[in-house]
Amino acid sequence: MGKYLAVAANSIKKNLAYRMNNFITMVSVFISFIVLFYFWNSIYRQGNQIGTYSLEEMISYYVFVTIFHLLVIGDNTAWSVGDEINNGQITSSVLRPINYLKYKFSQHMGNLAYRLMIFLPIILVVLFVLRNYITHAQNYTTYAIFALCAMLSYGLYFLVYFIVGIVAFWTAEAKGFFYTCWVVINFMQGGLIPLDLLPKWFSLISDSLPFKYLFFVPVSLASGRVNFDYKMIVVPVLWCIGMYFLAQLLYKKGLKKYEGYGL
């Protein structure tokens, strides 16, 4: 166990190593919140409602989208895994008594700790400044469920992007695939447009994929638009278990194919 904690710790230290980078990131995140606020304000000046969303609800939605993008979604796992496979860096993990999946997850956790450190203050400031525009859930149980869903999302996103990254075992040109996955997943999870603003037939597709539960559902919970349904926990858990085994399987297969090119 100690080794994975050490990996997480090293990830934090690595991220903190660049002070200017930290500062600029914080500033740009703050700006992105401001931009989205003014963006939706100007759109709503035309009328009062888009679908079932009022101005406040729309702003809340995108504020949570941004928060989720900052903290929960870790698409850089795919890039990082893909890079390590392509440049042979993964060899040093294969050689040593360390489990690659757990190793990447520990790095991911380290990154999360780092992101909480630098983004939480900004998020709190933004939530305070925009407090009149943010709709939120009414009771603590919903918040608790939301927290649980967010944690499940975090784990499942990691597994999904780990699997996406593993594709690099089979092709040296995986970057296009990663990017496509990111775009598609982002759309399917409601990251671009709230899912309930999309045509009915679309929900057939989005319902059969896990992404809606990872993002759209917890975010809707947090902004008080939906109530708790046991499916919100069970479905992600099942997907997590399935994805975990798939990740292990693909990793083993990929490793067999891995010729250590790049060394």
Partner: protein, 326 residues
Amino acid sequence: MKKPIIEVKKLCKTYEYVEKNPGIKHSLRNLFAREKKQKEAVKDVSFKIEEGELVGFLGPNGAGKTTTLKMLAGILTPTSGEVEVSGYEPIKRQKEYQMQFAFVMGQKMQLWWDLPPMESFLLNKKIYEVNDEDFEKNLSEMIELLDVGGIVNKQVRQLSLGERMKCELIAALLHSPKVLFLDEPTIGLDVVAQKKIRDFIKKYNQERKTTIILTSHYMEDIAQLCKRIVIIDMGKIIYDGSLEDLISKYVPNKKITIYFEKEVSREDVEQFGALVEFDFLKLVFEIPREKVKDVVGKILSSNLEVKDLEIDEEDIESIIRNIFTK
């Protein structure tokens, strides 16, 4: 008789690859139909290594040395044949086996780029479950031997190649492995750093009796460190034995290149030794090893105006070529 710590029997490795011909036409064709070719990187390689030996794997680029080493380390699956190191089958990648060996690759790093080496050392301490006492002892010993005390707390990306290599070695040896694989450890390093690393490896092997396999295409690495060498060319072992025997048998001569200020004539210089190249201002001699010092002394103390002088070791390619043609 004690069982050898490394035993390899009829080891083979064949790679599949896609041929990429130059030109747009071929690139387009590759999009639709790719020709898969096979390369036999390692063919029927067999050898045994006893515990504590320091063996050199020598051979030109692409000979199969690194591929063999990777199969010993469990990175690559052999196409056929048997490999056993320290009683384990490397490709099974059992934790117990991985705790016992280390692999240092000259061109690949296990140190975290943005952090000081010390952080990577501490991570390895956890990964290999090294206790505090051993860790401190090993670390301070190696830091002193390699003289890196001042840099272990600097970011790895700020270190020179030589310093990085030394830290890579330390990181690999913190857990006192029984077997050490070194793949081109001195590649790209300056002469001083090369010597420091060679001295370190030699001392480490003598004191700890660690079994070490070293690959290199620098003759000097092998000459300094290995009593026994294995020459691999085109996937096959073409020599396995003592270095001394090899040298005296196949490389009896050294090449001396001399540049003159003023043109010299053939008669002036023929007395010194066998002339291989004559270009009035530049000459190349082939002199038996034992006589080199003598001949050079004579040339320099003669009245010929020498501008510059080079003493060359025959490179591996020529040595191997020699072995094949003789």
